[in-house]
């Protein structure tokens, strides 16, 4: 199996007031295409930091990150933006939808960066909302949706430009068990039926059950 993501000897070190904080310590990781990886570990262990590096939001202090054939650590901010737009979908713990826009408009946001026609964009939005089971809620504002529904809109937004990688940082951290299960089922379907490679940070062992494999991060290193 080919590796979609290769993290090689990556360190992330913060200097704060003379103190050095080693968040990631020579960490290596390979993620094959179609993987569904759960990352667990204590708070502050660097899970989000690792996700940010892999998704091109942050750059490592040393080491290299190859994702979809590109050396992310060598790319400039604007090139990284383009790369993210085409390759990564984000799902956050607090959904992070734009409150003034309805579901459709929120989902459409990534497409405004492409040169798709309005009609095409509408089609893609409909497909994505359909996939997350919210075809009939397109005109609702985030405030008119439940947490689980908002998270599904966020997933639709992450999917709409059809990226290979889906990055989910505690996607069920703010949801009750029932909604969480729905979301996890949805993510599983995206992995299994749509071939998305999924990186998911979670504190919840039950959530981790949905993945293909689980890695533990502690003191900047991965354990199994």
């Amino acid at each position: 199996m080919i590796n979609l993501i290769e993290v090689k000897e990556v360190s992330k070190i913060y200097n704060r007031g003379g103190e050095t904080l080693v968040v990631l310590d020579g960490l290596s990781l390979e993620v094959p295409k179609g993987d569904f990886l759960a990352l667990m570990g204590p708070s502050g262990s660097g899970k989000s930091t690792l996700l940010n590096l892999i998704s091109g939001l942050d750059s490592p202090t040393s080491g290299s990150i190859i994702a979809n054939g590109k050396h992310l650590e060598k790319m400039k901010s604007s090139a990284l933006s383009d790369w993210r737009a085409g390759n990564v979908g984000f799902v956050f713990q607090f959904y992070n939808l734009l409150p003034v826009l309805n579901a459709k408009k929120n989902v459409e946001l990534p497409l405004l960066l492409t040169n798709l026609s309005a009609l095409k964009r509408k089609e893609h939005v409909a497909t994505a909302l359909n996939l997350v089971g919210l075809a009939d809620r397109g005109d609702h504002k985030p405030s008119e949706l439940s947490g689980g529904q908002q998270q599904r809109v966020a997933i639709a937004r992450a999917l709409v430009s059809d990226p290979d990688i889906l990055v989910c940082d505690e996607p069920t951290g703010d949801l009750d068990r029932e909604s969480a299960t729905e979301i996890l089922n949805l993510i599983q379907i995206l992995n299994r039926d749509h071939g998305k490679t999924i990186l998911m940070v979670t504190h919840d062992p039950v959530a981790a059950e949905f993945s293909k494999r689980t890695l533990y991060l502690d003191k900047g290193k991965l354990t199994h």
Binding site: T49, N52, S78, S81, F94, V100, L112, L113
Partner: protein, 383 residues
């Protein structure tokens, strides 16, 4: 794309956006009005002659002098010619007149060179005592033609015991400045004075053309000294100086008003600018999310700047439009005296939008720069 982002910013808190636009609107209305209407204060002073002396009642601008004062002034060395007039006040509602009537010595146009009329008309005014030269603006407004009779009721009683007066229109005059001065008619003093039953032999103002402007002071002193202890003390001075003096009280008021308005203006601008930057700062997480989705730093910077510019331009446009709508109101309130005086000059419009751009820039540059440099990772850390 930019439009979606801008709209998102603006409709985020509609009431705040509305209030910001409204307060900026007031600021730009102030700006437009100050710029446009300040010509009231400065306009009247231009184009006056230093060769003309004005003699007025000393203590009451609207009082009267006996015609003998004019005769005395004319007798002085260095005085070339003397013109004098009295106001004949038409009763507004019952008049085809909208302004005043100058009952003047026939040489009105020879001395008062700000007023211009064709030679035939001036000739007719001198030769025929029933003739009148009407201001062009009033003629246009009232549809008065040469050969018409200018009839009106006045506060002065005519010899037949009525208040009706009537003159033959022989031509029109124009002024170089202040179209309000065209809202008047010039008639022959003698014919009015003979016909009226009260205030006979009195005049409101004398204008003397002197041979040499350097003699203005000595002649003025001579006139004022001569009548100092009479019941009709005079005040004399060059036309230009008198106008400035008359305007100076107004000018003081103008200065105070301008100062107040300016401070209000800048306060509004600062408050609005602050509100705008705050509104952008509140969106840190949203901007972070957009960056995640692949929006570039530069795009977000531009969108924040555009949003602020859009907002101020709305307000600038409304403020200037408001000024435009105020012009006819002010002209109406002035009873036509200030008709056609004001224009929303292109410069003012241009300046307004430049000012809007500056405000937008002041308000948005810092938060836009923050948006530009915001690290997504920091924006999204939920601790």
């Amino acid at each position: 794309m930019y439009w979606t982002l801008i709209k998102t910013g603006l409709i985020r808190k509609r009431i705040r956006t509305f209030l910001t636009i409204m307060s900026l609107f007031v600021a730009f209305l102030l700006y437009g009005s100050l710029q446009t209407f300040s010509s009231i204060f400065t306009g009247s002073v231009k184009g006056l002659s230093a060769q003309n002396l004005i003699v007025m009642p000393r203590y009451d601008m609207f009082g009267k002098l006996p015609i003998s004062v004019a005769q005395y002034v004319e007798s002085l060395d260095g005085v070339e010619d003397v013109m004098y007039f009295d106001y004949l006040m038409p009763i507004k509602l019952e008049s085809m007149m909208d302004g005043v009537v100058f009952a003047s010595s026939p040489n009105f146009f020879d001395i008062y060179t700000r007023f211009q009329a064709p030679d035939e008309a001036k000739q007719a005014l001198k030769s025929t005592r029933s003739s009148t030269i009407v201001g062009k603006l009033m003629a246009e407004k009232k549809g008065i033609k040469i050969g018409d009779k200018l009839s009106f009721k006045s506060t002065s009683m005519n010899q037949d015991g009525s208040y009706n007066w009537s003159f033959d229109v022989v031509g029109f005059y124009t002024v170089t400045q202040l179209a309000g001065d065209e809202m008047a008619a010039i008639v022959n003093y003698e014919s009015v004075d003979e016909a009226r039953l009260s205030e006979k032999g009195t005049i409101s103002m004398i204008m003397a053309r002197i041979a040499n402007p350097n003699m203005a002071d000595s002649i003025s002193d001579k006139v004022d000294d001569r009548f100092m202890n009479s019941s009709y003390a005079t005040r004399t001075g060059p036309e230009s100086m008198m106008a400035v003096e008359m305007a100076s009280e107004v000018a003081d008021i103008e200065l105070i008003m301008t100062a107040i308005l300016l401070s209000v203006f800048f306060t509004i601008l600062l408050v609005s600018a602050n509100t705008m930057s705050q509104s952008i700062r509140e969106r840190t997480i949203e901007i972070g999310v957009l960056k995640c989705l692949g929006y570039k730093d530069r795009q977000l910077f531009v969108s924040v700047m555009l949003e602020a510019t859009f907002l101020t331009f709305c307000a600038t446009g409304l403020g200037l439009l408001g000024t435009l709508l105020l012009i006819p109101v002010v002209e109406q309130l002035s009873d036509g005296v200030l008709a056609n005086t004001f224009n929303l000059e292109l410069e003012i419009i241009f300046g307004g939008f430049i000012l809007g751009l500056i405000v937008a820039f002041l308000a948005a540059s810092v938060p836009a720069y923050q948006a530009l440099t915001l690290r997504v990772v920091d924006a999204l850390r939920e601790d």
